[in-house]
């Protein structure tokens, strides 16, 4: 297998933790809520899911538990920021630290243990194609994540619910005055973001690299938040961004396997460096950010 085939085959799986978390954050931000606690939500989801799989509960239950656990944490965030109008930045950081701490606490006795991941399902016909064939051999979660991407894209593009969500994020006062329950919609969006971050963590710890280690999320939650900016709050672009990061995280391995002599620390920093670089490039186009950005993002709203 050459480097390109290797990257194509593994890209989607590597992208999935980024993608799931970023989609959740996208929905929350579209409703006007900036949740910076994604890293902690993912860590908690990852720890809980790992524990469930380790004790034989199976992957389905693991994702449910991981998603619900993260959603519970997101509920605290929602209570503080929506219910009590606290600063969203501070609350997000608090939730993040809290979640990472909880994950370490729960995962303490499972450090460095491994579980069995999920089998890969091949799309008949397409999987046999040369070079790109690997793209079509993925586990069920990857397939479902692609479906979720499509649904969220369609939801924003065609459904009334998507329109209402955006209205709440653009101008909560106007949305309120024509009768939409701004708080409830924001609460739902934040909880959705929590569930998705929990799934993202669960995928990371039980499927993609099926092991538990404290700190294993390693900044992926933060990159997911950055991805929403890269994607200028558009589902399709966020998907492409997630694929880019999936590829970047594999490019390091491919380079090493190909005999390229690079310090492993440089390879480990690659996703962070790419994030900084792309963030600079995209953000310097102020018009682009203004055009698609969310007007009331991060601002507390009081009916």
């Amino acid at each position: 297998m050459n480097a390109i085939e290797f990257i194509l085959a593994g890209m989607l799986a590597a992208a999935t933790p980024f993608l799931l978390a970023a989609l959740g954050e996208l929905v929350a931000e579209r409703a006007g809520v900036l949740n910076l606690g994604v890293e902690g939500l993912m860590a908690l989801g990852a720890a809980l899911a790992f524990i469930v799989v380790y004790h034989g509960g199976g992957h389905l239950l693991a994702f449910v538990v991981g998603g619900l656990g993260a959603a519970l944490l997101a509920l605290i965030f929602a209570f503080v920021t929506l219910g009590l109008q606290a600063n969203q930045v501070a609350a997000g950081l608090a939730i993040g630290i809290f979640g990472q701490g909880l994950s370490a606490l729960f995962g303490k006795t499972y450090e460095s243990l491994t579980v069995k991941g999920l089998p890969k399902l091949a799309l008949p016909g397409l999987a046999d194609l040369p070079v790109v064939g690997g793209l079509f051999v993925q586990d069920i979660v990857v397939w479902l994540s692609l479906l979720a991407t499509l649904l969220i894209w369609a939801g924003f593009a065609f459904s009334k619910a998507g329109l209402v969500l955006r209205a709440v994020g653009e101008n909560p006062k106007a949305a309120h005055s024509i009768g939409y329950p701004v708080m409830l919609i924001r609460l739902a969006a934040v909880l959705f973001g929590g569930v998705m971050a929990g799934f993202a963590g669960a995928y990371a710890s039980t499927v993609y690299t099926p092991l538990w280690a404290d700190g294993m999320i390693a900044g992926r939650g933060w990159i997911a938040i950055a991805l929403v900016v890269f994607g200028t709050w558009l589902t399709g672009r966020i998907f492409l961004g997630a694929c880019l990061f999936g590829a970047v995280s594999l490019a390091g391995l491919a380079a090493q396997a190909g005999g390229v002599e690079l310090p492993s620390q440089l390879l480990a920093s690659l996703p962070y460096l790419v994030t900084i670089l792309v963030l600079g490039i995209i953000s310097s186009n102020r018009r682009l950010l203004k055009l698609n950005g969310v007007a009331s993002l991060g601002e507390p709203y009081k009916p």
């Binding site: 501070a90 900044g219 900016v229 440089l266 310097s284």
Partner: protein, 364 residues
């Protein structure tokens, strides 16, 4: 919408009373303590033993209180720097990385000149560290001012990069050749160590510097015009722009101050209790300091108290790990929940609860 839940709603107070403002952090601390003790019960630990080890023991002997003072230094330094930025609404959350770069820059002197002697060494190390932290923060400032990039994300990513830079140095060029392959530098020479403040403890002059800079922060933020400009920029960006206060300047100033202070703290850590550059320098001071800054109400005096509380918690956590078998992660959980509790408490400083009475409900 006709349906309305009979939930209480928040009404902004005309003015927040000083007593309530001062009480809020204490209420938050008590609340968080209670919740965490319940959590310890849930994971099968003795809450009484944990409470004693974590919250009382740090104050019961001079030996353990001196360790609290040792932790207080870096937390105080970093949090004072961060709070200045936070008040200007410049969210530098990459103090961890700036701290690491400070430690690296300071270590360069003893690593490159291990034989050097003289009283100039430790002061130059502190200076080099502060410069290193400021330089690292300058990247974020440049990205924010010139490229409009979000400083939260950039500064955090740079922290993750900084940890890798540290790893690279300790596993590669700066590894002590006689260090049994441990990822650490050579032990620094005597003159590269900060003078001790109290004999028989590990507390060094950096604590004095931290208090000195806290005083400076107080003068700067509460009494000076440049500090006022920063504050206005944070509270009312439009008014600040109208008054001609430059936003770019505020961002540069906030990040450079934050980076300078964090870098200084990093330098003091390697030139103080550690005496060498090692991986464990980065134990989350940069993140804890964010909590310290908020818990202190972003006020230089409040931060002195909150830094003391967080330093005690951290030493207490170590105690509880030994005596009550508490996982060290419990400290992080406590810290996170403390900030959440504080944000909840502060909501009731700014607002009061009003239950919907029959009359308001019928109006709705």
């Amino acid at each position: 919408m006709s349906m309305r839940l009979a939930l209480p709603h928040l009404v902004r107070r005309e003015r927040a009373s000083l007593a309530v403002t001062l009480l809020a952090p204490l209420v938050a601390l008590s609340g968080a303590t209670l919740v965490n003790l319940l959590l310890y019960v849930a994971i099968g630990k003795q809450p009484g033993a944990v409470f004693h080890a974590m919250l009382l023991e740090p104050f019961l002997s001079w030996a353990s209180f001196s360790e609290v003072l040792l932790k207080l230094g870096p937390l105080l330094l970093i949090a004072q720097g961060l709070a200045i930025g936070f008040r200007a609404k410049v969210f530098n959350i990459g103090a961890e990385g700036q701290f690491i770069l400070g430690a690296i820059f300071a270590s360069a002197i003893p690593v490159w000149y291990p034989q050097a002697t003289g009283g100039w060494i430790w002061p130059s190390m502190l200076l080099a560290g502060a410069m290193g932290g400021a330089l690292w923060a300058a990247i974020t400032a440049f990205w924010r001012v010139r490229l409009n990039a979000n400083e939260i994300l950039v500064s955090l990513m740079l922290s993750l990069v900084a940890a890798q830079v540290l790893n690279y140095l300790l596993l590669g060029p700066w590894k002590d050749p006689n260090g049994f392959n441990f990822p650490q530098s050579v032990m620094f020479q005597y003159d590269a160590m900060l003078p001790l403040l109290f004999e028989g403890t590990r507390v060094n002059v950096s604590l004095l510097i931290a208090f000195l800079l806290s005083g400076l922060a107080f003068v700067f933020m509460q009494r000076s015009f440049p500090g006022y400009r920063l504050e206005v920029g944070g509270l009312a960006p439009r008014a600040a722009a109208y008054a001609g206060f430059s936003e770019a300047r505020a961002i540069w100033l906030s990040l450079l101050i934050g980076g300078f202070a964090a870098g200084l703290a990093g330098a003091a850590e390697v030139a103080g209790p550690l005496g060498q550059l090692q991986r464990s320098i980065s134990t989350g001071y940069g993140y804890s300091a964010i909590i310290v800054a908020y818990l202190g109400g972003l006020h230089p005096l409040g931060i002195v108290l909150s830094a003391l509380v967080m330093a005690a918690l951290s030493i207490g956590g170590d105690n509880a790990m030994v005596s009550a078998d508490l996982p060290i992660a419990a400290v992080r959980v406590f810290q996170g929940s403390l900030l959440i509790a504080y944000l909840i408490a502060m909501a009731f400083v700014r607002y009061r609860l009003e239950w919907p009475s029959a009359s308001t409900r019928s109006r709705a």
